[in-house]
Amino acid sequence: MSDSLTATTVQISGAGGDPIEAYLARPDADGPRGGVVVIHHMPGYDRATKEIVRRFAEMGYAAICPNLYFREAPGAAPDDAAATARAHGGVPDQRLVGDVAGAAAHLRALPTSNGKVGVIGYCSGGRQSVLAACHVDLDAAVDCYGAFVTGTPPEGAPMRSNLVDQLPNLRAPLLGLFGDDDKYPSPEEVAELDQILNAHGKVHEFHSYPDAGHAFFSVDRPAYRVAAANDGWQRIAAFFGTYLKG
């Protein structure tokens, strides 16, 4: 199996038909293959996230990450764009759904597509991955420590609500990867999500890691936990291997 790949910046049609920037990585080998939409964490469309996109291409998927802050800060550095987006109140849920739908459509339109697309998100993107899987035609979803899927957002937060009322509409199998030491989401909130998904008969698989907190996949941050991240990547490979291959 070749690990050669090509990565480039593209323009896709996001929510409302808005043209937005996205980072696309594709294996050089012939298809057909599945696709993965990567939702970046709150610090933005940064180098570490693009490394994740390329890793999915190395794993055999066409992968794309839409720049969720492109509208507020086109061309700005990721940290500056994140600061600007925050000052504007963050990414509205409805716009996120449209951007993920546009990214998934872009992947399915590739000549190498097998028609299957999954989504994965980190940090705030974890919640957004679940949100997208409640509204967009997706074949698998991964939530990496997304806060406020359950639980109550703090007063004054632009994010008005959790996703509990939307979970009955979850349209894809869900893999959840969490840290036992995380407070956002807390182990209790993860357990609540597990119970709700069980009650609605939704296919899901959760793993929570000891000695890991929030952002344990982040290789450039002190939160990085190599054992949790390595196991998590294996869980992701198996999960997408089950639902996106073919």
Binding site: A73, D80, A81, A87, G90, Y184
Partner: protein, 83 residues
């Protein structure tokens, strides 16, 4: 902490920003969340933008919680010593 909980405030004064250029202050955003550069899980972050020059022009601080509290105390001490 992934909440987007952010305090917005008006500021009056000046700051030295990118390319060494001074600019007049109008607003700041203050929040406790993941830093971009500081080696801490969460920091008290202050963004002071220069809206006239777009998103890439801002002064940014990421302070550990203890440093942020020490800065508040230092500011209060300095102000108390003034006329």
């Amino acid at each position: 902490m992934c909440t987007y909980a952010t305090v917005h405030m008006a500021l009056d004064g000046s700051a030295k920003g990118p390319n060494g250029e001074w600019f007049p202050l109008t607003t700041a955003t203050v929040y406790f969340d993941h830093p971009v550069h500081a080696m801490a899980e969460h920091t008290l972050n202050i963004d002071i933008p220069d809206p006239a020059r777009g998103p890439s022009a801002r002064v940014a601080l990421e302070l550990t919680a203890s440093s942020a509290r020490a800065l508040v105390a230092a500011i209060e001490e300095a102000l108390a010593s003034g006329p």
